[in-house]
Amino acid sequence: MVDLWSGLAQAFWLVVTLDGELVEIALRSLRVTLSALAVACVIALPLAAFVAVKRFRARRFVIAILNALMGLPPVVVGLIVYVFLSRSGPLGVMGLLFTPTAMIIAQTIIIVPLIASIAHQSIRDLWQEYHDLLISMNVTQGQKIRTLLWDCRRALLTAALAGFGRAIGEVGAIMIVGGNIDHATRVLTTAIALETGKGEFALALALGFVLIGLAVAVNLAIHWLGRTEREGAW
């Protein structure tokens, strides 16, 4: 219990004094996760819409695979990305290993199935609703997808925030592909792992509380910007 209170106190102190190291790794955490989120949404949302509206024989199979990939252990993704980006690997020449870019790649891969699965369900429900109307209006495939994505935007935001949550707390994959290098690829979660490993529980907890606070702040900001609780029949 002492550790918990000590951790809270330390967290408060670190934040209030804008501790230099804390600010550096917190900003890096946000940068890596938000970048991964942006890229993942660009991939996952149109993918979800496409799978929701296009009729093809393997549809059910693809959806099952997407759902299953949600349970992919992040550390396995990290290992696979490492093998690809390693100097001995196929993409080694790009020199991406142990950089924030490698971490963004790994996190993107981890959250795309999550965002796509959640988004897909909402888009599919809306497609059932709009189906007759849009077909009758002769929409192109592109117009169909854009209409569904826009009208579904609240649910898509939820999907994106789910992805954000998964990514900001992830540690296994980015430890492997990032290397937790001080001043280069260290982020909140890997720093927590490091301090825990050194037995510095209070500091680790402090970092943990900062991480939680950060995640809550981002979620609040997005909800406020999206005005999700205001009036509206959707």
Partner: protein
Amino acid sequence: MELFPMQARGIESRRHGQVLVGPVDLRLEGQGACVVIGPNGSGKTTLLRLLHGTARLSAGRIDWACSTEEARHHQGFVFQRPVMLRRTVMENLAFPLRLRKVPAGEARARARDWAARVGLAGMLERPAPVLSGGEQQKLALARALISEPKVLFLDEPCAALDGRATREIEEILTAAKSNGTRLILSTHDMGQARRLADDVLFLLGGRIHESGPAETFFNRPETPQARAFLRGDIVE
């Protein structure tokens, strides 16, 4: 762009081996309102969808005066239960125009104009899903008419509406008809059929049992089933 005359030859719709509609031969010209009547299950909805192109033909062909591709762009369809986009009234109205790349300013102007025509002028910023049934159907109708289709299909548009809403819809339809839009609508309401029809298609068991100008059909029906139906008997 001339769509009519439209010729349907031997068209059929089959599901799981069962024939829902057909074979049907039909020739339609481009003026007035054609009302499709018949008992439940006679295939009215399916016939409309076949002609509109949203139900697949199991047999036969439909030929318009122009290509089928082009014909699709000049048609509208109003469903029995209106499908509202989860947007405002204004955005619903502008939607078909934006699909056709009409610039936003012009689309909004036309939307405002049509909203006024159907009596929804004060509700432009309301979310469409919160409108009443009658208001939603008027919106659906305006949305179908805003792109100035040459032919408008309506599937029992007033089935779920009260008298006042029905009257308003019928006024809009009559106006559209005088503007040159060909109407093809199905209905259960014989009064509505008499009020609106220029020609009638009487469906029974998926086939056209009798057809003709409205005046002839309502006053001198030829077949016994038509007579029974007009009398109000149950016809199978």
